[in-house]
């Protein structure tokens, strides 16, 4: 790596695996298609997917900080 290397190449491409994790979980319904455990009376199917939005946002932020 010399001084000419643009900023964007800092951090390995392995960080992108975090995107793969987001995709795999979000797109595999058998994982969350159930009622129990419920949270405040909300079936697992609903609260888990909502929670996964927040987890995904954090994972994306990690990739941003690692790569930028």
């Amino acid at each position: 790596m010399n001084a000419q290397t643009p900023r964007r190449t800092r951090g390995g491409r392995a960080w992108y695996l975090l995107f793969v994790v987001q995709f795999a979980v979000a797109l595999y319904p058998p994982l969350f298609n159930k009622v129990d455990p419920t949270l405040w009376g909300i079936p697992f199917f609903y609260w888990f997917q909502l929670a996964w939005v927040l987890v995904s946002a954090v994972l994306t932020a990690i990739v941003y900080w690692a790569r930028a």
Binding site: Q4, P6, R7, R8, Y16, F19, Q22, F23, A26, L27, Y28, P29, P30, N33, K34, V35, T38, W40, G41, I42, P43, F45, Y46, Q49, L50, W52, V53, L54, S56, A57, T60, A61, V63, Y64, A68
Partner: protein
């Protein structure tokens, strides 16, 4: 329905008047020369992280989404939640592809996907295919935004027969057309801030207040019929609702950023970093959309579908009336006005951006390419302003005279069509390997089979693909995209000739400049 709620109507009207003023005042915001297409149509590419967040959020999470997703939960149940994994998938795509596209468009002065494809592949017909697909997919989308306004106006009790019944919609349209003409993208960018704040207030108020009234989430979900609570487990030799759910989420996600209005919103950002930061910040809207989807269940649990005062609304608008009915059932009049204004203004923001995007496409990739090669900046901007007007007028005529179900079906077809531009646009950002004619053939095959499959499955999103005795129900858009890609990959080596058109972009155009 017949009774006009004057308090709600006044609040609604006051908020509408405010954003009308804001839309015109926006012309002076970060003032630029509005006789330039990049100023009128992209706001001068000057929006930072925060404004981009409001603008893209206001652009992608449309009024129709706020009505249709809960309506799907109300009518069909758990499958409506596909909107949540869908929004999980879109942001990595935004993060990976769009900063590169932003850089090359900024460097080369591109305003549309057609501009990029023209420059990258040097084939005006491929650029035309991408642009016409964008126009076809956008028109019914604008019509559906006007449908969103129609539903809340109907719910406010403003009704009449013939032209009088459509008058409020025509007024809303006139306001929209006027401020888009005079202020360009600055108008929806400033209004998006108001709209998004109103939508957040409405969503959180509904998610807190309604469960309190109905006795908690446990009570609400126990009132939902078992068949609607979860996805149906797949039968033997089929991936059933699981593959339908996942492909619908993935296909919709890939299609989303190919829509011209998404690209317009993203290109108006001030830097690639602003886009990457938004990939982590925009899920705030996804979370809210998930909460809004729950409103469909709240409406089921509250039983608004059987209350006589809402019968006329459900008769006219079907399940799309579920959210307005729930809001009127649960909140005092003044807040009904706020919530309905959120939906109504929520329709104007994307409708404005969509019409600007369509105008940019026509002006740049059809008129300039095929009719008049070297227009002055002033001519180009003037033409775009008029085209945006005509596009909106078309949508208005459509929604007034054509039955709603056709607008919804066309919107479904639009998703199948727009995804066919993915190889040229999204993959084109990464590689020039594909042959331009192979891409064009792949596109045509995807358009034709996609349209045929959509009609074969009676204009429902999922196609029942049967392979070796197994059934794989899945989103037609994704299946036809696979065909499109396969053709492009197989034909590229066969069609490659020594004299292939040149690529005017260079590798360093796709990154931030080296310091």
């Amino acid at each position: 329905m017949a009774q006009i709620d004057w308090v709600a109507l006044s609040v609604f009207g006051a908020l509408f008047a405010f954003i009308t003023w804001l839309g015109f005042a926006a012309a002076h915001w970060r003032k630029g020369d509005l006789d330039q297409l990049s100023e009128w149509g992209l706001g001068g590419r000057r929006f930072g992280t925060l404004i981009t967040w409001f603008l893209v959020g206001g652009d992608l999470y449309t009024a129709y989404t706020f009505i249709a997703v809960p309506a799907l939960a109300f009518g069909a149940g758990a499958v409506a939640f596909f909107a949540v994994p869908y929004t999980v998938v879109i942001y990595p795509v935004l993060f990976l592809v769009f900063p590169r596209l932003w850089h090359v468009c900024h460097r080369r002065g591109y305003i549309t996907a057609g501009d990029f494809v023209r420059g990258r592949f040097g084939n005006r017909w491929l650029a035309l295919a991408v642009s016409v697909t964008g126009l076809l997919a956008t028109m019914p989308y604008i019509a559906l935004q006007l449908l969103g306004i129609q539903v809340v106006i109907g719910a406010l009790g403003v009704s009449g027969t013939g032209l009088a019944g459509d008058l409020p919609l025509i007024i809303a349209f006139g306001v929209l057309a006027a401020f888009t003409y005079s202020s360009g993208l600055r108008a929806p960018a400033s209004i998006a801030i108001v709209k998004d704040i109103l939508i957040y207030i409405t969503a959180f108020a509904a998610v807190i207040v309604v469960p309190m009234q109905l006795g908690g989430f446990g009570k609400i979900f126990s009132a939902i019929p078992a068949g609607k609570l979860l996805l149906a487990p797949p039968p033997a030799y089929s991936t059933g609702s699981y593959s339908a759910y996942a492909t619908l989420a993935l296909g919709s996600a890939l299609a989303l950023f190919l829509y011209p209005h998404s690209l317009t919103g993203i290109l108006s950002a001030s830097s690639g970093h602003a886009i990457r930061r938004n990939a982590a910040l925009l899920p705030g809207y996804s979370f809210m959309l998930g909460l809004l989807a729950l409103l469909g269940f709240f409406a089921l649990a509250a039983g608004v579908g059987t209350l006589p005062q809402y019968a006329a609304g459900f008769k006219q608008f079907g399940a799309n009336f579920a959210v307005p009915a729930l809001i009127m059932h649960s909140f005092p009049s003044w807040f009904v006005g706020v919530a309905f204004a959120a939906i109504g203004i929520g329709a104007l923001v994307p409708a404005a951006i969509m019409s600007i995007a369509a105008a940019n496409l026509y002006t740049r990739n059809i008129h300039r390419e095929f009719f008049r090669r070297n227009p002055s900046d002033r001519e180009e901007a003037r033409l775009a302003k008029w085209v945006s007007m005509i596009v909106k007028l078309g949508a208005l005529v459509f929604i007034i005279f054509v039955p709603t179900k056709y607008a919804i079906q066309l919107q479904l077809l639009g998703g199948i069509w727009i995804i066919q531009t993915l190889p040229a646009v999204m993959l084109g950002v990464y590689t020039r390997w594909f042959n331009d004619r192979a891409l064009l053939i792949g596109w045509a095959a995807g358009m034709l089979t996609g349209t045929w499959m959509a009609f074969a499955s009676e204009l429902k999103p999922a196609y029942q693909l049967v392979v070796a005795g197994w059934t794989f129900p899945g989103y037609t858009a994704l299946y036809t995209l696979a065909l499109n890609l396969l053709l492009a990959v197989v034909l590229t080596p066969l069609l490659r000739t020594p004299g292939a058109p040149a690529d005017e972009t260079r590798a360093e155009d796709y990154h931030a400049a080296v310091q």
